[in-house]
Amino acid sequence: MRPILLAGHERALTQIRYNPDGDLIFSVSKDQQICVWMAHNGERLGTYRGHQGAIWTIDVDPTSTILASGSADNTIRLWDIKTGKCLKTWDFPTAVKRVEFNEDGTKLLGVTEKRMGHLGTIVVFDVKIDVDAEQTDEKELTIVCEESKATVAGWSYLSKYIIAGHEDGSVSQYDGKTGDLIYNIPIHELNQQITDLQWSQDRTYFITASKDKTARLISAKDLEILKTYTADTPLNSAVITPKKEFVILGGGQAAMDVTTTAARQGKFEARFYHKIFEDEIGRVRGHFGPLNTVAADPTGKGYASGGEDGYVRVHAFDKGYYDFMYEVERERQNRLAAAASA
């Protein structure tokens, strides 16, 4: 099916998020706008105004009530999704590169940039999912990344760990309550930045994308590498699809490296890999710049990608996608079905 092209941003996309119901898409870009869209028809519901710098990151709480955003204007803001009102602004000395709610929406983490003498940090706030409640000013926790700055971070299952991906290609596991570093493991090639980290639905494992042209599936508990997906281009984003056992990777030659060559050179395609077999199974073309972010509909009905070209492309999966299955998977499915009926 033809994708829906969301042409609401004027500059490169930085992150896209679906709400848990999969009916809303939130997108942020370097043009200082947060947009919210209807996932099924691409209609823009509105924007959230207030940031005064490129917005790097966005997340929505599990009940689709409030929205958190992090920007190059050195703030994290909370918004009322319904009204667009800014509920809270936290100020930092440097830009905010990533925000994420934990699984029950009671905590929010933010990753701040290392710049001008400030080390990169991961901060945690207690959040009330209530548009009328007073939000706290106090950080519950601050983790300072002394070795290599964190570029991405997220909450594991039960908010037990904070997992962070670093600029040097390593992944750290911190205690979710105390902020103590438990492990730091080199996962990607040394000094190849980790560009994205997204969770499986139950937050027991996650996928990282890196400039080293690979994406890796990692267990949250012990940071064991479960799978590796090798692409032929630096990756900016990776997501695990719900329902089907796939992962979607997005990337492409960075704009400054593409120079004068044809679009085919840039490899601006979303790539589908089989999550378990690590085989590439398909590509979706369309963007004319690198893909900066990919997001999957939590209900498994589609995915969206945002590119350096300023467009969001929302794809609904068609029948072929649902039917696609390896022989051994079908075997297993049939066996399970037989066992269930017996």
């Binding site: 599990p62 037990k160 027991t204 060559t261 378990i276 051994v328």
Partner: protein, 747 residues
Amino acid sequence: MAPSFDHLRDEDLDDEDFDVDEVDISDLREKYEVQLDEGYDTFVVVDGLPSVDEETKPKLIKFLLKKLNTVGRTSADAIYMPMGDDGMSLRFAFVEYSSPAEAAAAVRQLNFTPLDKKNIMRVNKLTDIDRYGREGRIDEQYTPPKIEEFQEKEHLRSFMADPSGRGRDQFVMFRGETVGVFWNNEKDQPENVVDRQQWTETFIQWSPQGTYLTSVHAQGVLLWGGASWSRLRRFPHPFVNLVAFSPNENYLVTWSNRPISIPDSGHPSLSLDDDGKNYVIWDIETAKPLRSFAQQDTPAAEGDAAKKQPKFPWPAFKWSADDKYVARLNQGTSISVYELPKMNLLDKTAIKIDGVMDFEWAPASVRRDGVKTYEQLFCFWTPEIGSNPARVGLMSIPSKQIVRSLNLFSVSDAKLHWQSDGAYICVKVDRHSKSKKSQATTLEIFRVKEKGVPVEVVDTVKDTVINFAWEPKGDRFVIITTTEPVGATAVPPKTAASFFCPEKAKGNAVGNFKHLRTLEKKNHNAIYWSPKGRFVAIATVGNQQGADLEFYDLDFEGEKPEGEKDMTANLQLMNMSEHYGMTDVEWDPSGRYLATWASAWKHSMENGYHVYDFRGELLREEPIEKFKQFSWRPRPPTLLSKDEQKTIRKNLREYSRVFEQEDTERISSADVAVVEARRQLLLEWYSWRENVEEELSEERAALGLPENPVEELLKEKTEAAAHGEAEEQVVEEIMEEVLEESEEVVN
């Protein structure tokens, strides 16, 4: 262990009882003895002379002088031949040359010169005799040299025996800084034989029969091979740039753009004579240099500035098919032919051919009709000089006879193309009209094996011929022509590929060459014949815009077009393909596969290789970062006789049945293995998931958290929302009431 400072004992440091005079340094003195100019540098000692009496002595001296004066200046007065007590000479003489350089030349060139059947002259420097022959330097007792025990070496052609029994071919890949040799596995991942980091500094090259893999380093060239890929030979030519083998792997030519400079401390294998030289010819068996040559400056093409000569011609040294001769062109004047293994100039003089522009050896030893003696042929051409016509000649070596020559007029350029058996040579002649404006090309084919070497003019082509290729071992050829001027352009020029073949003729004779078909409006610029003939791939290489590849069969086993009934070919396009950014194409030696690759040397886009089968079916494509070079390992010529080959060809169906069965079995077993591996992966994944899920729900329960963390929250929110909605409805009702009130007021 070497003694270090820590290990020195106290008594070693104690210098009280240390007497300088007691130290015996005679061995050191001997070793580092300074060579003083003794004034004897102009003297040589000539040994191995016949014993003569006083009477015949002048005769011998006169005879000797003839020899000695070939390298320098000396006279009868300067020869002293000591006489023994019995009145007979002592079989040696002292000779004084006019300069030390001449003496050195005499040693180099006259040593081991035979005087007659019995006597061989030995020439040594007087100073050397003194140095090496002084008392004590030579053992009085003869001790036989120790002969090393014979050790079985690895079989250098073990690669011919494919361990899988499928007769696969090997290839080498150079990517990044790593060089690896692989077995071709068609569609599957090639099987690695050996893989080494930094195996070469610039490039790799196979020897023509696949025995050696050549690696090129700043210090020289190394040859590798055998099952263990050990280092077999070393050719220390500093800063070597290019390497060429003789066809039978007996000799090697190395070239460096920097003249060799021998350091004062000497060089392990090159001598002072090689100083300033650019080319070295080596004997591969002994790894010793045979002779070195300096670069020649090719005279600039007269007046024609646009047509620049390449800076250096390569290969500069061209080998005859049997490694017996190697020749170099002295452009415009002569061809120097050297005889192997001594590397002496054939008949001591270069073959003078006025104006000679180019020459090519026959790629095979040709047996001409009616010629019984041994010969090697080469073909050369000379341009028009004054009123003399341009000439193409065929010369027989060693007789230096011109076997056939052809005069041509209005020639602007000529290219010589031998067919692989040496049966034909096609001279592609570019001609201009009298006004020198319009160009045309004619193809003149010499039928070398036929009596009298008849020459046939095939066709006059109006357009510029940019490429020509004979079918290997066959008699058909393909040319590519273009109407546009040749040059580097972004858009590939429109070209046409034309196929030629002989007409059908009676008996074994080969009929006249005729134009078969022309494919117009293509962009092709390169022709790649299968090494076994019949199949040809025509390609556009080295172009950013397009990279087409077309596979043709010239013996298509189907309907033949009516108009081509008399032709010995049936042309059929089998397949078309495209490989973006392709820079090189190479057939495997068996003619079963074709590899195309995009090398990082030329550009950095989509580097990697493709492998096709001979029908043009893409078997495998592999993008590899920084992919530089791909090369099939050549095979030595077959050991089977013609008859044996014929029998095999006859029973091909039998063999193919067996092979096909093996193939299907292998593929199906590979498939089974893949499926099994997947099944395993799936099982592992789901059992891992099961564990994790179980752990998670246990932990959740232990923490007293609900099974679904957001369910409760969502419920709350929905309730709140429902509540809110209800209130709103109430508001609406109030509005209705207000309206009713206003009605009452009216009443």
